[in-house]
Symmetry: C2
Subunit: 233 residues, 2 copies
DNA sequence: GCGATGTTACGGTGACGGCCGGAGCAACGG
DNA sequence: CCGTTGCTCCGGCCGTCACCGTAACATCGC
């Protein structure tokens, strides 16, 4: 069982509360420094450094040196997907009691990024709207963008990466939202849509959090293009 | 960060080598007793009992009492999906060296079940064959069954669960195979196909392993219906 | 009722690992 | 050049947890 040791190693790396906090913070896809990660995890920079070193050799994160800063980010989308799935299981078994949700948690539940796509109330509302309008079809396993959806992306100027080959259907991945318990849009399509929202100035990052804020412009665009009401409420 | 503690708890449960071995053994979707799982993990039944108790309260497995035996199985497909994704990350970072593959590992790589669908060389070969024949389309995020694929399933008598609503497209989920590094068929479609292979006597479980054996009848059927050569070699 | 088997509960032991403080090293700025 | 900042290495403390042996409890066959 050679693969078993590697499996346990990866799971152990994610299992420490301090490391889990750091990985959680990195789930927005951005790169953070060791000191920033130490602060979110509530430990000293020395301890954080050790953790980050272990995470790096374990292949969960990668480091990019820039001057006297060292920026850490998740190593791959596969890691983000793994963290998502663990959160999925954790939120399934966790609701032993209705937990207290602080204001910070509330902002996260409203709208956040999930590595490279939108999640929270906003992400789910967007997916719901597109399903209702026949622009995408979503099953539990997978999803597909219809011609109406392609037309919408074309009209909005959503840039797909890599550029779509006209032959194959455009497929997308549903991702069960841990706060809403309903699927939102992930995969290449979710990433493209999220990227477009940032580039067009519809949303922006909230400093020091995975939460995102909807701009005034974004509010209007979401209402006009997706029929989503004030602040996705 | 209420969800953080639950996250770390779940990851820690999967992170112990002994527990990882048990979860790995349960990945074939069957239910095993504490003694069997102890033997797989190489620990005493007492120790295994403690581990299984923790896994149960953690929501990773469920227990079914039957006489003096207690059968343990994975709690949900979400747990299986999580274990898959961890294995995915582990196999990404693990290939530090070409590891020795024993005969037991070899059987696993040839053909095995992955919770509820087929994996290994056989699983990948089936997916490849269906893609080549235009019966399914697979992207990295998702997949879809074409009309040709639906016709094939109909001809073979593959029973979909739940029965397909004629309106929506039949979507499927690709699952990156850790041994082949290529996608095989998962999700409801993969599960239906796997179930049909068992029911029709094309494959059978190898006792005491996640590996499966292809019967003589199955060999002929796989060749005739999917063009897969001897033993999927 | 009496062994045999499967499973759980308890106490003790040992080790792995997280944490911090102190010190050493690069990088930027004045 | 020197002080500041960001990060890493080292040594030591301490809590947690995996493991086993012993023992108790349920279930089945005789």
């Amino acid at each position: 069982m050679t693969s078993n040791a590697a499996f346990a190693e990866v799971a152990t790396l994610a299992g420490d509360p301090a490391r889990a906090g750091m990985l959680h913070a990195l789930m927005d896809g951005r790169a953070l420094t060791a000191t920033e990660l130490a602060r979110v995890a509530g430990i000293t920079p020395q301890t954080a450094s050790g953790h980050l070193s272990r995470l790096t050799v374990g292949g969960l994160i990668t480091v990019e040196k820039q001057g006297r800063h060292r920026y850490h980010r998740l190593a791959s989308p596969a890691v983000a997907c793994m963290l998502e799935s663990i959160m999925q299981v954790a939120s399934d078994s966790a609701p032993r009691r209705k937990v207290f949700v602080g204001p910070r948690d509330l902002a996260l539940r409203h709208a956040r990024t999930c590595y490279d796509h939108l999640a929270g109330h906003l992400g789910v509302a967007l997916a719901d709207a597109m399903v209702a309008r026949g622009q995408i079809e979503l099953a539990s396993d997978a999803g597909v963008v219809t011609d109406a959806g392609l037309a919408l992306f074309d009209r909005l100027g959503v840039a797909l990466e890599p550029p779509r080959k006209n032959k194959a259907r455009l497929l997308c991945r549903p991702c069960l939202d841990w706060s809403e318990r309903r699927p939102h849009l992930a995969g290449v399509v979710g990433a493209a849509l999220c990227r477009h929202c940032f580039n067009a100035g519809w949303i922006r990052h909230v400093e020091g959090s995975r939460a995102i804020a909807i701009t005034v412009k974004g509010e209007r665009q979401f209402r006009e293009n997706f029929g989503i009401g004030a602040a996705g409420a």
